[in-house]
């Protein structure tokens, strides 16, 4: 890499490019020296690279701003180009709704203003344009309030510039700044307060009142900016390198920034109804997502020296590093730990990463990315970070009963994976008390599931060893056993003819019998003699046993003998039996159960509807609140269905592109042919229409081929579109079936609607049937201040006791409602298109319990007003 490039890239870092210096002034001067030498000859290379650095290293924006300020003193034209290019990128970003670019470029413009490169009035004009677009959007008459998410986003972009340039603006254009602030305040007074209970991490006590009173993201930012303003716009977390060069920069010529325009918001639905408004609002929120949802893990004492605005700035830095450095482990970790701020921020860093890992509905990256980041930070800050992470785990574990169900699963997956990277070392003895809790207590379930995942990543004995400090926890380990084969020939149990049948099949497979041979054996010998259901059990068990040695063995058996299974499981009823057999064969091994069912769905031996039916069978229902096993299988089925549909969508969109290309090819070959044909040529001295016949013939064949090509693409597009249409229909059936099943089992078990209106009511029902409450202490010790369900550390006989007071049925309802939320939220985009039908047949039917309805509605981010 050329040296000027690495200087640009590494500016502000402790790096060999800058020798021993870590002084911003030195860095800027050195970099400026290198760049000015290149400008005359390589300006065309410097410009795009510099802008790339600006966009991808937003925590260094002030350094780049100052650098460009210095360049501006010598080469106004070059800097004008930078400004123009930025204008173009910014306008593009607005048009396409590229949130990150809009936000980062606006910050860049602010630092250009601070370095006298940009007229401060130009910046104010940009702010005012955004402000007026936002105000229009939320106006009931002129705009479309469903798109408030975008308006909020614009305002948050304006506000988030102030830490970088508030001080300069107030000095240079105090009145204009005041006008912007007044405008923002006015906007805040007309917009709606965002209530999204469906996306909060915790189901806290008094959830509704709390979210109504709590500031939403924009109100919170506004509060921090107001505090900043009253503090004289001083920010510790933002470097102000332009002050080091103030004397020089003053002489620079400030450029103008042309006007910009914000795209129009889509029209309000012509027939305003709850549903169309809801759909639009949902789309808008997907396009302009909220960047962070704060997760408060640590006590506020950990953040005492932090000004409100510093928290915001550091979060921005961290999120940007996470965004731009995924896949670059070294840089990511070193930028995370080396932010340009004069205070420690490990706790804030941990909260920010966990808030992303657990973010609802989806984190920006797969959870495994944050796992990696946490591992790397533990290695980069071995003295500080591991303890902070452990503290976060403890704090989340304390509140696990209130944590959203989806977040719990992510936490389980993360934690088990994290521990597997650190020799599975954890002070399990701290949590040994979960054994005293009922088997549905969320803390106990959490420990059990973490151990299960650890065993999957490692092996039973190793994990058993890792809980040596709390040997009782061994009880929560998954069973150690292997498969549970009904027709084992080795044991001493009674052998019957089914054993013989199974052995016969074993031999056929060993002898590499073809599937059709097995099928005819089945048709001719087995089914007539033993009946359908017995045959099913023998065939399925035996094939599973043959494929039990590994994932690959399973696949091989299914590929080779899948048809045998389809023969014996031709309809949904039989498929449900098939799944039961799988579950019984692998009853000791949840992972293999899930994998086998997943693969069978992959080979279309079972349908997603059959899986759903089985999930709602009694054997599963009774473990909803004590195990993730049924839920994992349901998750897989929904995920696979979703993946199939999105693959189809991708194929269709790529075919559509191919068609455009093919049409162009057709037009081009046709033009060439026409041109050739219309040309006059001399044949035997006579002028005839048409060029050289050989060429014409060739062109004709090209044109025909191009047409054929186009048609064949159209055909495949049509075929794919038909497949997609069918898949979407099936999806409707799938979700209808899912929600109907949820609704009916919940209505069956939830107390009547009049007695429980909130989850809180559900939690406070005092369990009268304490059959499973194996707690010794007298109830009086517990119902004192047990408004919530958190395990209380109540002093009984001098010792600390943990208790969980939610009864079994109530916990079952809470867990199931939690999963209803999780699934609805995750597949909201797939569910919205079918919402009318779902409303009519399930959600708004009289049988639907209000708590169930509320769970679905809040997860779809749908207004509850219509309930």
């Amino acid at each position: 890499m050329s040296s000027w490039k690495s200087l640009l890239l590494r500016i502000g870092d402790k790096s060999p490019e800058y020798g021993t210096s870590s002084d911003f002034k030195d860095h800027i001067e050195t970099c400026f020296g290198a760049i000015r030498r290149e400008l005359d000859h390589y300006g065309d290379e410097v410009l795009p690279f510099l802008l790339q650095c600006v966009e991808q290293l937003p925590h260094k924006t002030p350094l780049y701003g100052t650098l460009i300020g210095l360049i501006n003193l010598e080469n106004e034209d070059f800097v004008k180009k930078i400004v123009d290019q930025t204008h173009k990128s910014f306008q593009d970003a607005l048009n396409t709704g590229n949130c990150h670019r809009i936000r980062i470029l606006l910050r860049f413009l602010t630092t250009l203003m601070s370095s006298k490169v940009l007229l401060s009035t130009s910046l104010v004009v940009v702010f005012e344009t955004l402000l007026s677009s936002a105000a229009t959007t939320v106006d009931e008459e002129k705009g479309n309030p469903a798109w408030q998410a975008r308006a909020d986003f614009y305002i948050s972009c304006i506000l988030s510039c102030f830490p970088w340039g508030g001080a300069e603006l107030v000095e240079q254009v105090p009145e204009e700044l005041e006008r912007v602030m007044v405008g923002v305040e006015a906007y805040l007074s007309i917009r709606r307060h965002t209530v999204d209970t469906g996306l909060s991490f915790f189901e806290d006590a008094g959830e509704v009142e709390k979210t109504l009173n709590e500031k939403d993201f924009l109100e919170d930012l506004w509060g921090r900016i107001q505090a900043l303003s009253s503090d004289g716009w001083k920010v510790d977390s933002v470097p102000r390198p332009h002050l080091l060069f103030e004397a020089q920069l003053v002489a620079g010529k400030s450029h103008e920034f042309g006007s910009i325009s914000c795209p129009e918001q889509p029209d309000s639905p012509s027939t305003p109804s709850g549903i169309t408004y809801g759909k639009q609002k949902y789309d808008a929120e997907l396009s302009y997502p909220q960047r962070i949802r704060r997760l408060n893990i640590f006590p506020s004492s950990k953040f005492e020296d932090l000004q409100p605005i510093d928290r915001f700035v550091v979060e921005e830095y961290l999120l940007d590093v996470l965004l731009f450095f995924n896949g670059c482990r070294k840089e990511c970790a070193s930028f995370m730990v080396g932010l340009p701020v004069p205070f420690r921020y490990e706790y804030l860093m941990a909260e920010t990463i966990f808030s992303q890992l657990l973010m609802l509905p989806q984190p920006p990256f797969k959870p495994i990315y944050y796992t990696l980041v946490i591992i790397d930070l533990c290695k980069a800050l071995p003295g500080a970070f591991p303890a902070v992470v452990a503290g976060a785990v403890r704090a989340l574990f304390e509140k696990i009963a209130d944590l959203d169900m989806e977040c719990r699963i992510r936490l389980i997956l993360w934690f088990s994976h994290h521990l597997s990277n650190f020799q599975f070392i954890w002070p399990w003895e701290e949590w040994a008390y979960v054994l005293e809790l009922p088997k549905w207590a969320p803390q106990r379930v959490f420990v059990k599931e973490v151990l299960d995942r650890e065993v999957r990543l490692s092996y039973w004995d190793k994990i058993k060893q890792s809980v040596e400090n709390a040997p009782g926890l061994e009880e929560l380990l998954p069973p150690k056993g292997g498969p549970n084969f009904k027709f084992s020939t080795e044991d001493d149990g009674e052998k019957n003819e089914q054993h013989a049948l199974s052995a016969e099949l074993y031999n056929m497979v060993k002898g590499r019998a073809a599937a059709r041979e097995v099928i005819s054996w089945l048709n001719e010998t087995v089914i007539p003699k033993h009946g359908f259901d017995v045959s099913l059990v023998v065939i399925v068990q035996t094939l599973l046993d043959i494929g039990s040695k590994s994932f690959t063995h399973l696949i091989t058996v299914l590929e080779r003998y899948g048809q045998v299974i389809s023969r014996i499981c031709p309809d949904q009823d039989k498929q449900v039996l098939l799944i039961s057999e799988v579950s019984s064969y692998w009853k000791n091994n949840t992972q293999m159960t899930a994998i086998a069912i997943d693969r069978m769905m992959g080979y279309r031996l079972i349908s997603n509807l059959a899986i759903i039916r089985w999930i709602f069978s009694p054997e599963n229902i009774e473990q909803y609140h004590t195990s993730d096993r049924p839920w994992e299988i349901l998750r897989n089925a929904l995920c696979k269905t979703y993946n199939r549909i999105s693959d189809l969508r991708k194929e269709i969109s790529s075919l559509k592109k191919d068609i455009v290309a093919a049409e162009e090819a057709v037009a081009k070959t046709q033009d060439e042919l026409n041109a050739a044909e219309s040309k006059l040529a001399l044949v035997d001295g006579e002028p005839v229409m048409g060029e050289n016949p050989v060429r014409v013939k060739r062109l004709k064949s090209y044109a025909e081929k191009a047409k054929e090509q186009e048609e064949s693409i159209r055909d495949s597009l049509e075929a794919k579109e038909a497949l997609l249409a069918r898949a979407l229909e099936e999806n409707e059936t799938l979700y209808l079936s899912l929600y109907k099943s949820f609704s009916s089992i919940l209505t069956e078990r939830l107390p009547v609607a009049s007695s429980v209106q909130t989850l809180q009511d559900l939690k406070s029902i005092n369990p009268t049937d304490t059959n499973a409450m194996d707690l010794e202490e007298e109830p009086a010790a517990m119902d004192m201040d047990n408004e919530d369900s958190r395990p209380e550390k109540s002093q009984v006989n001098g010792g600390t006791e943990h208790a969980y007071t939610v009864g079994e049925n109530e916990q079952w309802c809470l867990t199931t409602l939690g999963y209803v939320k999780a699934f609805s939220r995750q597949y909201a985009s797939e569910i919205w298109p079918h919402i009318e039908k779902l409303d009519a047949e399930v959600l708004l039917s009289e049988d639907a319990h209000p708590l169930f309805r509320k769970a679905v509605y809040s997860s779809l981010r749908r207004s509850m007003d219509s309930i």
Binding site: Q56, N326, G327, K366, I368, L372, Y459, G482, N643
Partner: protein, 251 residues
């Protein structure tokens, strides 16, 4: 993303000599591939462990374990096939360098699995890197194959006796019989046909856990016993210096 720090030459650092085609075709294959190569695995790691870890990057289509071409047992590498390119990229980005079964594994784009690539390419059947290693790596069969031969030769010269040191039991011990030593802390049921490896300890424990003993014993009798290395030597860290699969070393 992060294009600034991505080394553009990274994709082409490796060149599998078995790839039939030009450098451009090789790079194109890597850029569009949905297969990853996983290296520096323990011989004991099972497909299900790989599945659990790699499914966190996306839906898995297939796993192909790398096998010793003589013994047909896992020899420390595998291929994972995904359905989507994005998931493949995430596996490379987020899993490479993390720990699986106590070892830092390496995950790279692979140009695509073809039959035959599951076999180790070393002279002795395993991977090339295990041919010349001089360190002791209990997760990968102890010393490198050449060193093992050397030791074996020495052992035949000097008769240590079977029990004298306990540190040098017969290199070949029969799997499935309880003779020889019992590992303490090390696993050595290097047995691909078991779902999970187990140590000799496990089999003693079976008395208390009836759940699967029938199954295990049936399994044991079902396949021929297989020689295995006894990893009872002191661990001396692991080395990823040698390279697998004729790949060149990453710098």
């Amino acid at each position: 993303m992060a294009s600034l720090f991505k080394d553009p030459s990274k994709l082409s650092v490796y060149r599998d000599r078995r790839f039939q085609g030009t450098q451009d075709e090789f790079e194109h294959a890597l850029l569009s591939s949905t297969t990853v190569y996983v290296g520096n695995m323990s011989f004991y790691t099972t497909e299900e462990q790989v599945y659990e870890l790699f499914s966190r990057a996306g839906e898995i289509k297939k796993i192909i374990m790398g096998l010793d071409k003589n013994s047909k047992t896992p020899c420390g590498f595998c291929f994972v096939l995904y359905y989507s390119r994005e998931d493949t990229e995430d596996a490379v980005k987020f899993i490479s360098g993390t720990i699986l079964d106590d070892r830092p594994i390496r995950v790279d784009f692979d140009w695509g699995f073809q039959d035959g690539r599951q076999w180790g390419r070393g002279r002795s059947g395993g991977q090339v890197r295990d041919e010349y290693r001089t360190d002791y790596d209990p997760g990968r069969g102890g010393y490198g194959k050449l060193v093992q031969k050397e030791l074996e030769a020495q052992r035949q010269l000097v008769d240590y006796g079977t029990d004298s040191l306990g540190s040098m039991p017969p290199v070949m011990s029969q799997h499935g019989n309880h003779g020889g030593s019992h590992g303490h802390g090390y696993r050595h049921g290097r047995d691909y046909h078991h779902r999970k490896r187990h140590r000799d300890d496990d089999r003693h424990a079976h008395e208390s856990s009836k759940r699967n003993s029938d199954f295990e014993s049936r399994r044991n009798s079902n396949h021929e016993s297989r020689p295995e290395k006894n990893p009872r030597f002191r661990e001396s860290g692991d080395s990823d210096e040698e390279d697998d699969d004729d790949r060149k070393q990453r710098h």
